[in-house]
């Protein structure tokens, strides 16, 4: 007997944005968005308004992560409600503009979906980043993308941690999704990374088009990695790092890290071991942009999320 009563009816997702250049040196998203701004044929879908958008154009021009402050941390309630003043940080001003164009954040006028395209120097492969474990639309979308990308692996990172969660550019939308593909050095465009991101987006847009056309997506489960803790480098009293990610941990994103496993290697050759009680799954291992954020890697735990069947609500 089918459980027809357990289908969640959700609003149509009509307005979709694709953000590249939230960080001005993460080249896959910048290149894709610029390409689609010139010729949008590839991303057009029936009934969908799709806007490719460069979020931080000044940073893109200089090929740096940000001008004054990280745009992807700038969408706090304080920043978004602050009055327009002279001498404001560029990214805070930009956050307010983006909130006006694609939000307001939290309102019914906000864009339905924003895909925010990122690269990382970490060996994370293709990662989809969620901010909520209860957003059924997003859960079903990532499930669809993972299946469509197979056998290419797409992993899901869930950052719902009350303290470590941050105010992302995409959080302006009702359904924010981060796409993080690596490893790729900042300022470099690798063909394989570029094509992976392009393919993920193709499947994501297909999902939205199917959903809007009335397709019902059955209940599913999704394996996710839930953010637990940020681990910094060992540092001296001046704040300088005194060790590097250990060669046994380097490039081992998503693999189990157990108590007693090597974690850091000091510059004079001493190994520092992981002392945590439980097995964790590290990610964002040795991301270039995170040295200044005091983060050598992030620990996660594995979890299985369940999602109801969904379909578009009838008018």
């Amino acid at each position: 007997m089918s459980s027809r009563t357990n289908v969640s009816c959700l609003h149509e997702a009509r307005r979709v944005a694709i953000f590249g250049g939230t960080h001005g040196n993460e080249m896959s998203g910048i290149t894709l968005v610029n390409m689609w701004k010139q010729n949008s044929a590839e991303i057009e879908r029936n009934g969908l308004l799709i806007k490719p958008f460069i979020s931080n154009p000044k940073a893109v021009e200089k090929c740096i992560r940000y001008i004054d402050t990280d745009l992807n941390r700038a969408f706090t309630p304080e920043n978004l409600s602050a009055p327009d003043v002279e001498g404001r940080l560029y990214e805070v001003q930009r956050a307010k503009e983006i909130n006006r164009m694609f939000g307001p954040k939290g309102s019914s006028d906000a864009y339905d979906v924003i895909f925010d395209l990122h690269n990382t120097t970490s060996n994370m492969g293709s990662t989809l980043i969620l901010e909520s474990s209860t957003d059924l639309f997003n859960l079903q979308m990532v499930h669809y993308i993972k299946k469509a990308m197979a056998p290419h692996t797409c992993l899901v990172l869930l950052n719902e941690h009350p303290q470590l969660k941050y105010s992302t550019t995409r959080s302006v939308a009702k359904h924010p999704i981060g796409l993080e593909v690596g490893p790729q050095p900042q300022g470099v465009l690798r063909s394989n990374v570029f094509e992976s991101m392009r393919t993920i987006l193709k499947h994501a847009l297909d999902f939205i088009e199917f959903f809007n056309s009335g397709v019902e997506f059955p209940p599913c489960t999704i394996d996710v990695f839930r953010v637990q803790e940020r681990m910094d480098y060992p540092r001296d009293t001046n704040g300088n790092i005194t060790a590097m990610v250990h060669p046994h941990l380097q490039d081992c994103d998503w693999e189990p890290l157990n108590r007693g496993d090597p974690m850091f290697l000091t510059f004079d050759g001493r190994t520092i071991l992981y002392e945590g009680a439980n097995t964790v799954y590290p990610t964002f291992i040795n991301e270039a942009a995170y040295y200044e954020k005091q983060q050598a890697f992030t620990t996660t735990c594995r979890e299985i999320l369940a999602a109801n069947a969904i379909r578009k609500a009838f008018k």
Partner: protein, 317 residues
């Protein structure tokens, strides 16, 4: 008598410098220099068998973790720039280059350092590459040969530029026998333990060679395989906007020093076409180096050659 059978007597190498942070976001060298300075603090001047000057070439760029502040300092050591008058509006790096020339040179004089080892990283898959501006420096080539025999974890290659010393624009040309140690692949702004370890080993072995040489060891001559720079190739670009229309082809990416033949793929355009190589067989390197996009270089091409060096021994007084 074959050149390699001959024995050349050369003066001892009295003074060596190790420079890191010439590009402020190439971190292995920054940390190798820092570690050496820590060693000097702990063991004093006897940390190494010969006197070594350690220096962070571009401290402002290192502090900001950027390649440079105003201008790439590693293009500022040619005669013209070193002798240009300094004004208030001079770029930071031109000023600093002249300071370094006073500290480690002056370039071309007998007071200059015997050897500068300049430490670099690249986002290209170049393993350990030793770069020198001339093909005729036997000391440098002997050190390269020594490193090639001693280091087995990664490929060790020699790259030569073949320019006259006055035109050589990189830091190590300030010394009598300098070379750059380039290790990759490593993203800029990242320090990888495996890459750091390779660079530290290369520096330690260089010091080791100098000590052995100064102590009278005969280093046998022979052939050293080297790649000589021929030219650079840029990315395909939109003629109006100059933005890229293609990326390095997946079959070329990470294949530094392979042999490129006619018909081999070079670039994959965003619309799916493959751009192929149409010229004489050559070897690409610095494939997809982040810092070279603004210099309009997708990769360099070089010709493989054999350089023959004589056996060498230190000149006894």
């Amino acid at each position: 008598m074959k050149p390699s059978m001959a024995l050349a007597f050369l003066p001892a190498l009295a003074r060596m410098a190790v420079s890191g942070g010439t590009h402020g976001n190439e971190l292995s060298g920054v940390y190798v220099v820092q570690e050496m300075e820590q060693q000097r603090k702990e063991t004093g001047e006897h940390a190494w068998p010969i006197p070594i000057t350690t220096v962070l070439s571009n401290p402002r760029a290192v502090r900001e973790c950027r390649r440079y502040i105003d201008r790439d300092i590693n293009r500022c050591f040619n005669r013209a720039t070193l002798s240009s008058p300094i004004t208030d509006s001079s770029p930071y790096e031109v000023r600093r280059a002249q300071e370094l020339n006073n500290l480690l040179g002056p370039k071309g004089s007998t007071d200059a350092m015997d050897l500068i080892c300049d430490l670099h990283n690249t986002t290209a898959n170049m393993g350990l590459t030793l770069i020198h501006y001339t093909t005729s420096d036997w000391v440098t080539l002997h050190i390269c040969k020594y490193l090639q025999t001693k280091i087995t974890k990664v490929p060790v290659r020699v790259l030569v530029l073949d320019v006259p010393i006055s035109d050589a624009y990189s830091l190590e040309s300030v010394s009598k026998h300098g070379f750059s140690i380039e290790v990759g692949p490593q993203p800029h702004g990242v320090v990888r333990a495996d890459i750091y370890t390779i660079m530290k080993e290369a520096v330690d072995l260089t010091i080791d060679w100098i000590h052995k040489f100064n102590s009278g060891t005969v280093f046998e001559g022979g052939d050293v395989e080297a790649f000589k720079f021929i030219k650079s190739v840029d990315y395909p670009r939109d003629p109006e906007t100059r933005t890229l229309t293609a990326a390095i082809h997946p079959q070329l990416q990470d294949r530094d020093f392979c042999l490129l033949k006619r018909g081999d793929p070079l670039f994959l355009s965003f619309s799916g076409e493959t751009v192929k190589y149409e010229e004489e067989p050559l070897h690409p390197f610095f494939i997809n180096e982040a810092a070279y996009y603004e210099k309009e270089i997708a990769f360099h091409l070089g010709k493989k050659m054999m350089l023959t060096i004589p056996s060498v021994q230190v000149q006894k007084d």
